[in-house]
Each structure stands twice: as C-alpha cells, then as structure tokens.
Point group: C2
Chain length 303, copies 2
C-alpha cells in the first residue's frame, strides 16, 4: 500500500486529486461539523466542488435523523444542498427493507428500536412498523408483561423484522419484546453499529451499544445497513448510478468511512483530521486501513 498523500497547502496536488473524481461521498459529523460547530471554509469548499460539476452525496450513520432533518441542519449551517443528496443509515435501512429484502405481506412489519428519523424513512418507503417513538412502549416492564411477551399475546403476529438503531429511549420492555420477535425468527437488521456517538466533546453510547444487549441475548449479529457495510454502498449506487472508479469517499473515521470506501473499491479515499481518527493511526507501519490522501481540514481544499 502506498503511503497517503498529504494535501494541505499543496495546490497542485489538490488540483490533480480533484481531477480524478466526478463524485464525492461525504461523511458529515467530524468532516463538515462537530455537533453545531461548522468547520472553517466548509461552505466555500462545497460551493467550489459544485462549481466544478462534481456530484455530492452526504453519507451519515446517524439514524436518529431523517433526510428531511438533515436538510434542515444543512440550511442552518449555510451549506447549499438538497434532500436527495443525503443518504443516512435510516434511509439505507428503509430502502433495503422495501426494495431488497421485500418480505411477503402480511408478515413484513418492522419492530423499530430507535427514534423518529427511522420512522420517517420507513414511512417514505411505505414500510409498516410498530414501536419506535410509540409512547405505549416508553414505560417500565410489569410482571404481566413477562407472561404476555412469552406467550405471544403482547406480540404483533405481522412483525417479521427487528430494526435496531440509536434509541435514546431504550428500556427493558422494548429489549425483551424485540428479543422475543428474534427468538420467533424475525430478520435482525441494524441501521448501523457504531459503538460510540461523539457529542459535547465526549463520547456517548452509539447505535451499536444501544443494540448490543439484543445481540448478546440472541447470540448473533444483525445485518448492518450503515458504513462500513457494503449493503449501504450498494443502496447508494442503486440510487445514484455512479462510476466507482471516479468516486472518492471523504471521512474522519478509518474503520467506518475510509474502510467503507476501500471495501467498496472506490477510486479514492480522503481522510480529514478534524474528527475521530488521528494521522498516527494510518501513518503507522502496518496500519490496517490507509486512505489515499489526507488533509488537516476539509476547508484546505480551497486553501
């Protein structure tokens, strides 16, 4: 593997790098912004790429937000975009369920562990679901629930899929109910399996941690529809029909973003140092995941 090229301050190198790609897939958090803090010159950089006719896709593992929610965030940050350019793990999961898995009705309803972002994307794809933000499941488990979950009287016979995402309202009742559906043969999917969620300059439990109890109980892993799962790459390609050799993945995490691009056999990968991974991780001898190029910040593309 050749060492990654350092592009910050290298105008000719940047020019040459950009000329190799027609499509750029962007991770959002840690690349464009951190929480509500926009990194310098991001809006200018996005504008420059558009002026060169590049196609942009914003690829995020955050399952709590829908594409519409993301569009609002882009607007607030002053970055020109449209909803169709956003590809989140909730949307990826909805597309997978509706267009690839296609379980026959009536046993094709989804039991959702997650927030409204998932619900919105399932609605958009016409997928039926229960739980999610339903207040009926936001309560403590009671003694009679154990009996009714175990004997099936508390279950919906049409549920054939359990979809696990980041749920800020997780509880034992939801976990026990989802576990029972899985014991009865439901397909096990996850929007993504990131172990942590970087927030407020610290780390919080991510979707992978919220769903880890279910994985431990049933003893098998879900099919993940977020980065670095190639199921997400296939879904993006199915929608945008791009040439992988002329496509570059831009991200801050080696084991999700950069791995996602490498496994997807994209023409290139570009790491930025504003997020989770440090350059020492990919410059080290024998590093498992090495980007094609790297920069201090995304804004370095416009100097």
């Amino acid at each position: 593997m050749s060492p990654p090229k350092y592009l910050t301050g290298d105008k000719a190198g940047i020019e040459e790098f950009l000329s190799r790609f027609d499509v750029f897939l962007f991770d959002c958090d840690g690349v464009l912004w951190s929480g509500d803090h926009l990194y310098p010159k991001v809006a200018e950089t996005i504008g420059m790429l558009r002026s060169k006719g590049k196609q942009l896709v914003f690829v995020t593992n955050n399952s709590t937000k829908s594409r519409a929610d993301y569009k609002k965030k882009f607007d607030k940050m002053g970055i020109e975009t449209n909803e169709e350019e956003v590809f989140g793990s909730s949307y990826s999961a909805a597309v997978y369920i509706a267009r690839i898995l296609k379980l026959p009705a009536p046993k094709n309803k989804v039991f959702v562990l997650g927030e409204s972002g998932i619900e919105q994307e399932l609605n958009a794809e016409g997928v039926r679901y229960i739980c999610g933000t339903d207040p009926a499941f936001r309560r403590d488990i009671e003694p009679e629930d154990f009996t009714n979950i175990a004997n099936g009287s508390a279950l919906d016979p049409e549920v054939g899929i359990v979809l696990s995402g980041l749920d800020f309202h997780l509880n034992y009742l939801k976990m026990a109910t989802a576990f029972q559906y899985l014991q009865r043969g439901a397909v096990f999917l996850a929007t993504n399996t990131d172990s942590t969620l970087p927030t407020a300059h610290s780390l919080f439990p991510g979707a992978g941690s919220a769903g880890a109890g279910l994985v431990k109980a049933i003893g098998r892993e879900p099919l993940a529809l977020g980065k670095p799962s190639q199921a997400m790459m296939d879904a993006i390609e199915g929608k945008f029909h791009f040439d992988r050799s002329r496509t570059c993945m831009v991200g801050d995490r080696l084991n999700t973003d950069i791995q996602f691009g490498i496994e997807g056999k994209l023409g290139g990968t570009l790491a930025v140092l504003t997020g989770v991974s440090k350059k020492e991780e990919f410059l080290a001898e024998g590093a498992p995941t090495v980007p094609m190029a790297y920069m201090d910040t995304l804004g370095d593309l416009v100097g």
Copy 2:
C-alpha cells in the same frame, strides 16, 4: 474424561456418591424450582442431606434478589434454610468490593446498574453507592444531560467503580453516565454476565445483555463476580472454608454451574435435567463440559 454416571434409580450409586462429599453447592433456578414452581421432593432431598450432616450453600447468579429476598423465597417454598447459606452474585460483588478490591476512600463509591438486591448487599458490606433504584435516574435523557455528563458536572467525583447487574429499569441516561465513569477510569465489575434470564417458560434478556451496551461502548469486559467466574468461588471459600475435594456443585447449566465446579477443582459435579442444559450436550462425543454424574431431577436423590 470419563462419561458421567447416571444416578436416577441407582440407590447404591447415590449412596456412594453422597459419601464422597461434605459440602454441596446448589444452583437454585432450574434445580430447586422454575420461577414459582417447586420441583418434586426438593424439600425432602434438602432435609435428607441435612440429616446426613452435609453443609449446603445455595449459589445463584440472580443479582436482583438479596440473600434476605432469597430466604423469603425458600420459606415460601417450604425449604428449610437460613440467610447465611445463600450466596448470590450481588453478595459476591459486595464482598469483592469491600474485602478484596478495597479502593481507598473517598474515590470508592459504586455506580450501580441494577435493582434493590444489589443495593441491599452493598449496604450490608458498608459500601457506598449511587443510582441503583434512585428515581432521579429513572427518566429520559435531556439535551443538557449530554453537556453535564460530558463536562463532569453531573458526575459524583467519588465514584470509582461501575457495577453492572440485571436492571429492569435500564435507560440511556444510566448507560451514558456509567460509560462516562468508565472513560474516566472507573473499575468495571459485573454481578454476572448470563446472556438470558429464563422466565415464564421463555427467555428474557439477562444481566449480561443488560450490560452489553456498556461493554460495546468501552470496548472491554467487566470482571464478573457470578458463576462461572472463580472470583465467586474464592469469595464462597473465603466465607465457608470448605475442602474443595470434598465439595460437589449441583446445577442445570453446563457453561455456568458445571464449568464453575470443574474450574474450581471441586471433588465433583452433579447435573440435573430440569433446567437449561440437555443430556445430549454432555453425552456427545467431545463435549467441552461434562459433569461427574447426572440425574433427571434433584428429587431422585431420595428416590
């Protein structure tokens, strides 16, 4: 490994087997009872062993109940016992924290993920703790919690230990708080790591599943104080000072009870078929965990 001896109906074999041991360690659920259903002749069997002068210890991984809670259950079931004979994973954890770990004050408080059984045992050993059944933590996480957990203002600076057990009231707020203590260096303990809890003739998420999110987030396993961890065997021996070669472990689960006895180098292990494991699992060629003897039910000891 010699094949296990089948003792049901073998009066002479039972007599010889019993003569080899002075101490019997009993698992409870799946051996004495299932939930509120007492298996036949259990009380008689316990009485017979007492009449022969055997020392009995009831060893359970259920962390939601204290020894006092268990004593009440034995009374209700009509089995003669006393609180001192009960050794639960909550008690094991409390003994480990107070007598073995002995962190120096003031940073020796415990953040508890679990129910009142754990609190009672920590109280009995004089260990200070927060959370557990505290209603202040039984609520949804709010935006300001992320900030206050991340910057430490919502944390108790005296917490030096996170103890994870079966918590029927688990939520994201508790998980995020515990994760932050672990990121700041707290010792990570678990009462036990059973993946499932057999209840109502089905399986529900066990302590290991309730704590799996924390394990995934921090990326390391806790020290478990329940079966088959030998930390529990050491704690039992520390209290009862028995001769391991004259001690027999009786249980229904191969990978917890029987493995616990074998790894602890006890003189014998006795499997009963009223619980989780089936005889095919240990009679199979190359079975990893094989008991010394087995019976259909514990009551077979009195015919």
